[in-house]
């Protein structure tokens, strides 16, 4: 705010209102009650700090701001939920760890944030709006007397625009209200009433610039790249290193990743036992478990646990090919889905353990290779558990204990 300017005589500028000055909050409150009771509408008080009870003295009705904030918060809440529902459940359904496409718990953090954000923004801008801020200029800025309103004096302004306002009567009313002085405030005819031109241009440029990212996004959605993109950070886009599966002119074969040198084996990867590591005996898939796999309850339990982690998403808890992934993929009905095998099929019951081991290790159809993920011994443990499942599906009476047999009679 600029320093107080010279005040023109009242005669030239129209009257804005009458300003009364008080030296304590108590006298101000009493005066406010007087003005309130006289039925004025366009008037206000100015104090250097919040004065308790001034709202009642002025007869100010409770603000509607809380309701606006509630509305803002509910809007944010509905918008967040609605948009996530549309994006996750309708526009781009994408399966994430077997959960429903539109999963409310996952939406809560964003819903919470947007509710808070919208409430807060409504509070700030609602407060500014209800207070008619920002005001670039106000006639009171020109009053020398008014400068103590941020220090230690208290003021009351009645505007000339008020229907009950009468320069003489109102002046007398204020003078008898305990004021230590009353001053006529002229309208501010000098200061520009609108936003300064420079600021207008700045706002215009900022607004225009703010649309650029959106325009670029819209362009990117609709266009196909035909040229190299613009590299903003070249040394991040082109790093001084060799990446796997890339060309490298240093070597004669121009491959960045080097093949294993013939006749060598990496440390700890000898794996010469064909039965254990490849499920083969004499070049044919084995029909027996290798000696390294103990056939006992502990191994089955280990297999059950690993099966639960790696196999159930597709093959289901009982190996019937009804896992969560299959259920969801089938529900999408895209036509390209190859359903996982039912492990209890006769084909798989008769398949040798070596071949099953090979399937787990290297994958088959659209089942990926699990060799890199599951240690060898665990793969065998899983097969042992699969055998247990298969047996449980066609259990013979001889498999039951005496007690269980008795309960069936």
């Amino acid at each position: 705010m600029s320093a107080p300017k010279h005040v023109e005589p009242v005669g030239e500028a129209p009257l804005h209102g009458l300003l009364a000055e008080y030296d304590s909050p108590e006298t101000l409150k009493k005066a406010a009650e007087k003005i309130r009771n006289a039925g004025f509408k366009n008037w206000d008080t100015f104090t250097p700090f919040p004065v308790h009870g001034i709202d009642q003295a002025m007869g100010i009705r409770p603000t509607i701001l809380p309701w606006l904030i509630l509305g803002g918060g509910m809007t944010g809440c509905a918008l967040a939920l609605g948009f996530q529902w549309w994006a996750n459940g309708v526009d781009y359904p994408f399966l994430i760890s077997g959960k429903p496409y539109w999963s409310v718990p996952a939406n809560i953090p964003i819903t919470f944030e947007l509710t808070v954000l919208f409430s807060a923004l409504t509070a700030v801008f609602g407060m500014l709006g209800l207070n008619k801020l920002p005001q670039p200029a106000h006639p009171l800025d020109l009053s020398e007397r008014f400068s103590r309103s941020t220090d230690d004096h208290f003021y009351l302004l009645v505007q000339a625009s008020d229907p009950v306002f009468d320069e003489k009567e109102t002046g007398t009313l204020l003078e008898t209200s305990g004021a230590i002085g009353v001053e006529a405030i002229p309208e501010d005819v000098k200061s520009e009433s609108h936003v300064p031109r420079g600021l207008q241009y700045a706002l215009l440029i900022i607004t225009a610039a703010a649309t650029i990212p959106f325009a670029l996004s819209a362009y990117a959605r609709e266009s196909k790249m035909t040229h190299t993109r613009f590299d903003i950070v070249p040394d991040m886009d082109f790093q001084q290193k060799f990446k796997a599966q890339r060309e490298n002119t240093f070597f004669a074969d121009k491959r960045a990743d080097r093949p294993q040198i013939e006749g060598t084996i990496a440390y700890g990867e000898l794996n010469e036992d064909d039965h254990f590591y490849r499920g083969k005996v004499n070049g044919v898939f084995a029909r027996t478990f290798p000696a390294q796999v103990p056939i006992d309850e502990q191994t089955i339990a280990r297999g059950q646990q690993r099966f639960g982690i790696y196999c159930t998403p597709c093959h289901g808890q009982a190996g019937e090919g009804d896992g969560m992934v299959n259920q969801r993929a089938s529900a999408l009905a895209e036509g390209t889905w190859v359903p996982p095998s039912n492990l209890n099929d006769d084909r798989l019951r008769q398949m040798g353990v070596g071949e099953i081991f090979n399937t787990i290790t290297n994958g088959v159809r659209n089942m990926p290779a699990y060799g890199p993920q599951i240690p060898t011994a665990d793969r065998w443990a899983i097969i042992l558990y699969v055998r247990a499942i298969q047996r449980s599906h066609k259990a013979a009476v001889a498999d039951l204990s005496a007690e269980e047999r008795a309960s069936l009679k």
Binding site: F49, P50, H52, P66, L70, S97, P105, A106, I108
Partner: protein, 416 residues
């Protein structure tokens, strides 16, 4: 506010125009509550199968954690008022100090839970039984923490600390009523800082020991905070209702006004509705998306059968309904509406604790009429003894710290 501050600097001694002692009205009420509580507890023991009876122990655990929540919540309230040098709360602080000072009673009542555990009775806690520990990999793994001697030591630390702290706060505060020494505030503020850290740790581990270890396979690091949220909400609700009861008896009429109730209401809203929900959801969401069987089974138990309805009811009655109910300023400033929501929070907190404990034992929502009766009796029993002791403790004490230097500011307190 400004004037009150200026006055305070010159004059520590405010002329109180109020009835600030309750006398025999409270002690008579205390005796009655004590009697009813005692009878209810005996009946709960008889109907619930004695001190080692499964029905009794489960019901007693819920009831005990409930009264403990009020006590601990108020102890936390007193601690944080000193820690932050709070002015608004001085007129309500003494009542909180008096109720919180009954940690001794709660310590004695906790023996019903601790002694059977120490004797190796595994009705509640599987980890006290060596045979069960030997048979379970998880229990074996956790035996370094969940074992009887260490549990006994922890219980002594928990209740010892809470007892000493609450007693000290009340004692020093009462001492100020006669001596008027302002430095008592400074000393209590210094004490409050480390006490707050110790309080957080003891509350967290006590919740883990008494409630979370019912299901030793489950673990959630936020579990203590969850109990804390409910406890603080209960404490503010109970404090508001206690003050209304005192005012109904003609006490504190000129000291405690709607400004103070408004603040209590804000805290009820903050802790009982928002904080509790925030913590409850944080706990749920991490387990939900992590989807690890060791953790999910705990919620799975609570989303089965009728428990699903209770879980939904908690969401509605601990969050959605009171959120809109307590949101408005007018509701918090009106004594009747505030009393309604205080009751609401106290009821729903019981449901919350019931929901924490019961599904772990594989129980239905209402296993039997007898079980419900034992729960009710245990709740009345522990609550009656706790309230009775609190009411008796008012004897000869001022209900306001009359010479606290911040009293003038508290009396003149106005919400902006």
């Amino acid at each position: 506010m400004r004037r009150a501050k200026l006055n305070m600097a010159h004059d520590n001694h405010v002329q109180l125009d109020d009835n600030i002692q309750i006398g025999s009205e409270a002690t008579d009420f205390g005796k009655k509550a004590f009697g009813i509580g005692g009878v209810a507890l005996v009946l709960a023991l008889v109907l619930g199968g004695g001190p080692f009876g499964r029905e009794f122990l489960i019901a007693y655990l819920v009831a005990f954690m409930y009264s403990l929540a009020i006590g601990l919540g108020l102890l936390w309230f007193v601690t944080i008022q000193h820690l932050t040098n709070a002015k608004w709360s001085v007129v309500v602080r003494r009542v909180a100090e008096i109720i919180a000072a009954n940690m001794s009673v709660l310590a004695v009542l906790s023996l019903f839970l601790i002694v059977p555990a120490l004797m190796g009775n595994s009705t509640l806690y599987a980890w006290v039984d060596p045979a069960k520990v030997a048979a379970d990999r998880v229990l074996k793994h956790k035996a370094g923490y969940l074992n009887i001697p260490f549990f006994a030591i922890r219980c002594v630390v928990y209740f010892g600390f809470w007892w000493l702290l609450s007693r000290h706060f009340l004692k020093r505060s009462v001492e100020q009523d006669t001596s008027g020494k302002a430095e008592i505030n400074t000393k209590l503020q210094t004490l409050a800082a480390p006490s707050m850290i110790a309080f957080a740790l003891t509350l967290t581990f006590a919740t883990i020991d008494f409630v979370m270890s019912l299901d030793p396979g489950f673990f959630s690091t936020i579990f203590g905070v969850y109990y804390f949220g409910g406890a603080v909400a209960c404490a503010y609700s109970f404090l508001a209702l206690s003050l209304m009861w005192l005012q109904g008896k003609g006490r504190l009429l000129n000291s405690v006004n709607r400004e103070h109730y408004h603040d209590l209401g804000k805290m009820m809203f903050a802790f009982g509705v928002v904080f509790w929900s925030y913590i409850a959801f944080s706990q749920f969401m991490l387990i939900w998306y992590g989807d690890v069987p060791e953790e999910t089974h705990w919620f799975h138990d609570r989303f089965q059968g009728d428990w699903k309805i209770v879980s939904g009811a908690l969401l509605a009655c601990h969050f959605v309904i009171p959120f809109f109910g307590l949101l408005s300023r007018y509701v918090k400033r009106n004594r009747k509406t505030l009393a309604f929501w205080a009751f609401w929070i106290l009821v729903i907190e019981y449901v919350d604790l019931y929901w924490l404990v019961m599904p772990t034992f594989g129980e239905d929502v209402i296993p039997s009429v007898l079980s419900l009766l034992v729960h009710l009796l245990a709740w009345v029993g522990v609550g009656g003894l706790f309230i009775g002791a609190a009411a008796s403790r008012t004897k000869g004490l001022n209900l306001i710290p009359t010479k606290d230097p911040r009293l003038a500011a508290s009396l003149a307190f106005e919400n902006p």
